[in-house]
């Protein structure tokens, strides 16, 4: 088990390196002079030189790459071009709302989607199945921010059931924190749920066609115990993969949701940085979110080994 985890950890390192390399090279891939693009057309020569020096663009590219990795290892993501504060500080002060939305949404989506997906597979080709499928097909076609605004219009503006937008830190007022997150979590959750329910259904349906399920039925086992003891046990691994995939979708989705509901998280930070062309913040935010994504995938892989001893010995 320990050896397996170590092997997986080591396998993650090259991925993290490549991700960092890609994010480093983004700025150099654009046509033209990145510093000129960032300061815009109306900048003075001094402003241009300052941005060039701040980003280290006046040095040879290999030196820049070396410094990027050296700083990264030391936890230094650079300094914001507009506010002159360290990028990591800005990220630390905005990461909590993002985590709150992401984790609550994942819990909401998973607890509803998995039972729905299993039910749809179990009752395949009945009206229950069709309702779940129609709902989930529409669910992943809807633009997330559009659903958010329609929810604000119906539940906040017309019915007044929940606040339209905003965010309160959990350590300030826990009740307010949850109340303000209802609409963001439900609107994002429904989209993520659509995907998870659909994939769960496909997985369980596949397992239900296996020979051992037929055998279990043939020997006279009750339908429910065939489902719970035989089918679900074997469907759990792919379902966990789906939860991981759902989390990836979520990290992109949260960026959108934060901008609908005015939640001061990483997504807001990123969008503000894009409008100001504050490239160190853009790079830092994307790097952190991608690292979180890679780590979630690592956790998914490790949980496989806990659940299925066969994987440990491969």
């Amino acid at each position: 088990m320990g050896a397996y985890i170590i092997r997986r950890l080591i396998a993650t390192i090259p991925v993290l390196l490549i991700v960092s390399l890609i994010i480093f090279s983004l700025i150099h891939l654009a046509p033209g002079d990145p510093a000129a693009i960032i300061v815009g057309t109306f900048a003075t020569d001094e402003q241009y030189e300052r941005v060039r020096a701040d980003l280290g663009l006046d040095r040879p590219i290999l030196v820049q790459l070396g410094l990027w990795f050296k700083d990264l290892v030391q936890g230094d993501l650079g300094t914001s071009l507009t506010s002159r504060t360290p990028v990591l500080k800005r990220i630390q002060s905005t990461i909590l709302p993002t985590f709150a939305v992401a984790i609550l949404t994942e819990i909401f989506a998973v607890t509803l989607a998995i039972p729905l997906g299993v039910l749809a597979a179990w009752k395949a080709n009945t009206w229950i199945d069709r309702v779940v499928m129609v709902f989930s097909t529409i669910g992943y076609s809807v633009p997330l921010f559009w659903l958010g605004f329609i929810f604000i219009f119906i539940f906040a503006v017309k019915l007044g059931w929940a606040p339209a937008a905003g965010y309160t830190q959990p350590y300030e007022d826990l009740g307010d924190f949850f109340v303000k997150l209802i609409l963001p979590v439900v609107s994002t959750g429904l989209v993520v749920m659509a995907l998870i329910a659909r994939m769960t259904r496909a997985t369980v349906l596949e397992v239900l066609q296996e020979d051992y399920v037929r055998t279990a039925r043939a020997k006279g086992l009750a339908d429910t115990s065939v489902l719970l003891k035989h089918a679900l046990r074997n469907a759990i691994l792919p379902i966990i993969t789906v939860i991981g995939v759902g989390f990836a979708l979520l990290l992109g989705g949260v960026v959108v949701t934060e901008n609908v509901f005015a939640i001061p998280g990483l997504g807001r930070l990123l969008v503000d940085a894009i409008s100001r062309r504050d490239y160190p913040i853009i790079q830092g935010t994307i790097l952190i979110i991608s690292f979180i994504y890679v780590l979630v995938n690592l956790l998914v892989d490790i949980s496989y080994a806990f659940l299925d001893p066969r994987i440990r010995y491969k």
Binding site: V19, S141, P143, V256, I274, I286, Y293
Partner: protein
């Protein structure tokens, strides 16, 4: 392919599957659409969207320009503004129809570029082991960055334009196509007919185009439809986040992004483009699901 040896034997080497010609694809689709009504609905919706995009000028639209006399008109049948007007009096019906053009152009371009580039890289990666490691590491890295974020970062440097949206989304969608093609190539590579082709000395380039590619086309077309539906959504997300289509061009994302400031006053401005966008994505995905089931039965899944 024949080869005459000194003994007069003829060895025939041919792929086990038939080539995909247009007629065969069409007949498969027709049969599939009758058996699978969802796919027929999907193709119907896509056809409808394509026709409103092509004929938008004839469908009682007016130019996407401010008209201060008719600000915030609610949707009416009689008043000429079927979908109402926005905060500066632009006709939402016209904007929605013109928006279909932008979305479909983005969707079609991104999917063609991504399956073209992805197909080529995937085949190189699957076929030449030396390049495989290099290409796949890079693909893994690209896929570890959520696509909307990568696209935003690219847009921040490229600047807002429809062309740049297409470039940015092609970068984020290509890796998926590379993976699909590579895994298809890896399984095809082990087949006997490839071994036979190698044995009689078929050159790698010819091998790729004549023997491997025909068997990769079906999964690639299916993936192309899923990329197209993702591109429609991502264009809207980018525009909503202020990193996509520039504000003067009426794409669905742009109209909805502007409409968010006055949803309490004019919900219709955000509602109609959103419904059209959802229908388009739904149509493309339903068609894609149907294509997957019909073009390549091996890929058939109950999803």
């Amino acid at each position: 392919m024949t080869l005459e040896t000194g003994l007069g034997t003829i060895i025939t080497v041919r792929p086990p599957t038939r080539r995909w010609d247009a007629k065969r694809i069409a007949s498969r689709l027709w049969r599939g659409a009758r058996r699978n009504p969802n796919m027929a609905y999907g193709i119907g919706i896509v056809a409808l969207m394509v026709s409103i995009a092509v004929f938008a000028d004839l469908l009682f639209t007016e130019p996407w320009k401010p008209n201060p006399l008719v600000r915030f008109t609610s949707p009416t049948w009689s008043g000429g503004h079927w979908f109402g007007t926005d905060n500066i009096g632009r006709d939402v019906w016209s904007g929605t129809l013109f928006g279909a053009r932008i979305s479909l152009i983005v969707a079609a371009s991104v999917s063609v570029i991504a399956i073209g580039a992805g197909g080529l890289l995937g085949m190189i990666s699957g076929f030449f082991e030396k390049s495989d490691m290099f290409i796949m590491r890079f693909v893994d890295g690209l896929m570890s960055i959520p696509s909307i974020l990568l696209a935003m970062a690219l847009m921040a440097l490229l600047g807002g334009s429809v062309q740049n949206v297409i470039i940015a989304l092609s970068v984020t969608e290509t890796p998926i196509a590379v993976r699909i093609v590579r895994s298809a190539v890896l399984s095809i590579r082990e087949m006997t007919y490839i071994e036979a082709a190698k044995a009689i000395g078929v050159q790698p380039v010819r091998m790729i185009f004549k023997h491997i590619m025909p068997n990769v086309v079906a999964p690639l077309i299916v993936q192309g439809t899923f990329i197209a539906s993702a591109a429609v959504l991502l264009e809207a997300y980018l525009s909503f986040l202020g990193a996509g289509t520039p504000p003067e061009i009426p794409s669905w994302g742009v109209i909805m992004a502007e409409a968010q400031q006055y949803i309490t006053r004019a919900i219709w401005v955000i509602m109609f483009p959103g419904i059209f966008l959802t229908l388009t994505v739904l149509g493309i995905s339903l068609a894609g699901d149907g294509l997957r089931d019909n073009l390549d039965p091996r890929l058939r899944r109950r999803m």
